[in-house]
Amino acid sequence: MKTSQKKRQPRKGIVLPAVFAVLLVLAFVVLGITTMSTSSLRHTTFSIQDDQALYAADAGLTRALAEYQANSNFSDASGSGQTVYSGKIASTGALYSVNLYSNDTSAPITVPGGAEIPPNTALLVSEGTTASKRSKRRSAVLVQKGLGTVQVGSLANAIKSENSKFFAFDSRKEAADYVGTGVDPNSLVSQQAVIATNEASGTPVELTNSEVNGSILVGPGGDPNAQVSKDSNSTTGQVGVLTEKIEIPDIDVPALPADDDSGDPPVPATYKPTSASDHISFSQASDGTMTIINQCFKCIIQPNGDFEVSEDAYGSNGAKHAKGNLLTGQYTNLGGSNFDIAIEDDAFLIGGDWHGIKMASDGTFAVDPPSNSSSSVWASGNTQTFTAPAWVQAGIFDKIPPDETNPTDLDSGYYGDVEITSGITELVDSSTMVIRNLEINSGGQLNLPKDGKDVTIYVTGSLKINGLNAILNETRSAPNLKIYYTGKEPVEVSGGGSSFVTLFAPDAPITLSGEGSTFYGALATRKALTLKDAEFYYDVATEGVGTGTDGTTMKILAHQRL
């Protein structure tokens, strides 16, 4: 049987190639999309990491600044570029480390990298790194540190400077044989001319075409930007705010032993006025202290000249209270209203609201009676006269301080009017003098010789210093010559080549003026300090006229992201 078998033909389909083709195309598409996505992802990842690094760096800086703001101190930082903080950002794992470069010197320093940073500043450089270490960014900030506690070279309630300059120097560092103009350049102290005011409102510091090579402190609660006014030609260093006012204490004029004073108190005596009086009484204690009670006021006078007088309030006038010294002529009204007081060579006069008393060198007391109607005037109108105790005559009016005109020298003691209009008046070494009125005019000179030291002058009435080199301190050191002025009249100092003085004048405005006028030392007043065409060199050897603490902790000067 023959069977026929069909030859099986191989089948040819296109499905498989087609599927392969489609798969191939899809593979390319997927590959392309994957490549694009990977590239985009890489770009995005880099961008995110870069941002994470930067934000970590900024976080480190923020932490360091917050720490300093809170504690005024970068924890245990010595300021030589050490790492003061390091940390980790919890959410991203990024790390930061903060390096500190602190300049505690008085001159700029150069930190690694070549940047110069000024005195009293700190440079914080924070580096942020991502957890993968792939990205690093840095952020840096330069902060000005607070001034801390500083010695003040010139203190006044108002400081006005026109065409003038403030510097600082250290007289102890001047060469012994230095004779040049100004101070020995080697003694200059950079940026240490600290001037201060207790005022915290208005513009107590005004600089016009002036230069302050140092710092300015304004009163507690003040705003440095508001209280300091300067024109475009004026420059100043750091400006801070006092944590508390710098008090200028009242000047306590010392009691000096006079040549004819044995030091013994007057012989006690019971004093009674020679005439009868119905409105005044006198009494004297065993130490010589005399008490005079008027119808209105009470006056106590001690043998050393100290006196105290008080009176109750009358009408709308407040109570009166004053203290002083008959010998020095210094007195201060302390009450709600003032007594009329005059201390003259031959009389001591007090006027209250309605009644007064006059104690004269002729040994009499003149007192106005109850019928007197002249207010605030001593012993005017009808007066009653009494004989004063003998010790008043002997103890007070027989020791009238002498007046001096162009004396060759001044030694310790009390003086009335001292006028120096020509020649040189030498100050005796280690002396203290109390002068009622001191006037040095053009041509005259108050001179502290080169080997002089420790001279203190108290001026209780008026102080006038005019003329170039009116005060010549040949020691070139302000601590050697101090002037304390208790009066209220304006003090004008024309200065000169060697006016090395420490001047306290709490109740008097001070003016340094004159073309090229230069003043070296320290100044303090509760009134105004004015400089016109002058230079003031604060001598740090004086240790200033007070100590002030800057409440400003820091100020950001510059911030850079690198």
Binding site: A18, V29, G32, S40, I117, P118, Q560, R561
Partner: protein
Amino acid sequence: MEVLIVAVLLFSLLSLVTNFLVKGKRMTVKTEALSSLQREATKLSRALGRDLARACGDRYQWGTEGIIFLSTKSTDSAQPTLEFDSATGMVLWKKWVAYSLDSETQTVRRYTQDLAGPTPDQFAPPSAWDLADLAGLPVNEGKTVANNILEFVPTGKADSQSMEFRIVAVGRVPLGNMAEKDKELRVEIKTMLRLGSVAP
């Protein structure tokens, strides 16, 4: 019969794949275009951010033409990265930087002009350019920062440490279909850029 069935199936499959590929391509092109625009906006944002980190909020001028500011970064790499005035601690300016927007080509170019030397703020010279000058700056002297930028302007939201910019990038997507016009795409970003230096 079998062949017919296979042919129909294959045709359907190919149509499906073709349609998928065409749609996919359109999506890819659109996504790529959007991505490109965003990349351009981001490039400008990052470049501006880097430069403004060396600038000061009080020392710039801006308009629709661009922005001009002082920078503390020197073009001379030999100079220190950071420099301060040794007396005041304020930054020392090194150059003027301008970002200029060419509205015709929608290109942002960056120009710089060095100062004579590191200069304290109080002695900084007047701006190297005015805003009106930006359009006339030689194209070949500028460095192209970003393309397809319609505008970049501060929004006015700012503090002493940062300022917000709005950057708008626009572009057209060729859709590959004769019947359809190119589609315009627009990417707008708002970003806070941090400023570096502190105003004196």
